[in-house]
């Protein structure tokens, strides 16, 4: 029962974080800041939802697969974010506040 409630909190919290990230994706002013909002939905949202599902699945093959999905997501999302930021930078998209890079 406690496990059930905990997993519900995780699932709903994950959904909430996802929506917050989506709103941030719309509200943030430029490309680089939107990257951070995207990172939010990619990390904590995925973490909470998969954790909630693992609690429901218990110790089984299903849990191992869910954990693998989480592992893939957490390993690929920084690579994708970094590749995106780098591609934007090489394409000449200037990040705001670059003047402060020398201090």
């Amino acid at each position: 029962m406690i496990v059930d409630i905990l997993s519900w909190i995780l699932l709903l919290g994950g959904g909430l974080v996802g929506i917050l990230g989506g709103v941030g994706l719309l509200r943030f002013p430029d490309f680089y800041s939107r990257l951070h909002a995207a990172g939010m939905t990619d990390t904590l949202c995925a973490l909470m939802i998969i954790a909630g599902l693992i609690l429901q699945a218990g110790f089984s093959l299903l849990s191992i697969k869910l954990a693998l999905i989480l592992l893939f997501l957490l390993f690929t999302s920084p690579t994708a974010s970094h590749a995106l930021a780098r591609a934007g930078l090489t394409d000449g998209l200037k990040p705001e506040g670059e003047q402060s890079s020398n201090n």
Partner: protein
């Protein structure tokens, strides 16, 4: 029930990402939005497998997580090559 609710929040996130993909303004903004859309699809498929009670859907989510990553990297490469080609033609 709780799974359906969580799946709905994922759909809402995907709708927001889709709006950003349509608004742009640069091609990179669109790719960020599509990336978010893709990772949320993975979570949505995982949730749907619990809604329906079919464990097989998890394998689809697993495969989709990998395909989405490779697709994003491929699109980035393609757009990069296209932009550098355009820049060569300009002067």
């Amino acid at each position: 029930m709780i799974y359906t609710l969580a799946a709905l929040t994922m759909l809402a996130t995907m709708a927001l990402a889709l709006a950003r993909a349509l608004l742009g303004p640069t091609v990179w903004d669109r790719i960020v939005a599509v990336n978010v859309f893709g990772t949320k699809t993975v979570l949505l498929v995982a949730l749907i497998s619990f809604v329906m009670g079919h464990e097989l859907f998890i394998d689809i989510a697993l495969a989709y997580a990998l395909i989405n990553f490779i697709a994003i990297i491929a699109v980035l490469k393609l757009v990069n090559v296209q932009h550098s080609l355009e820049r060569e033609e300009e002067p």
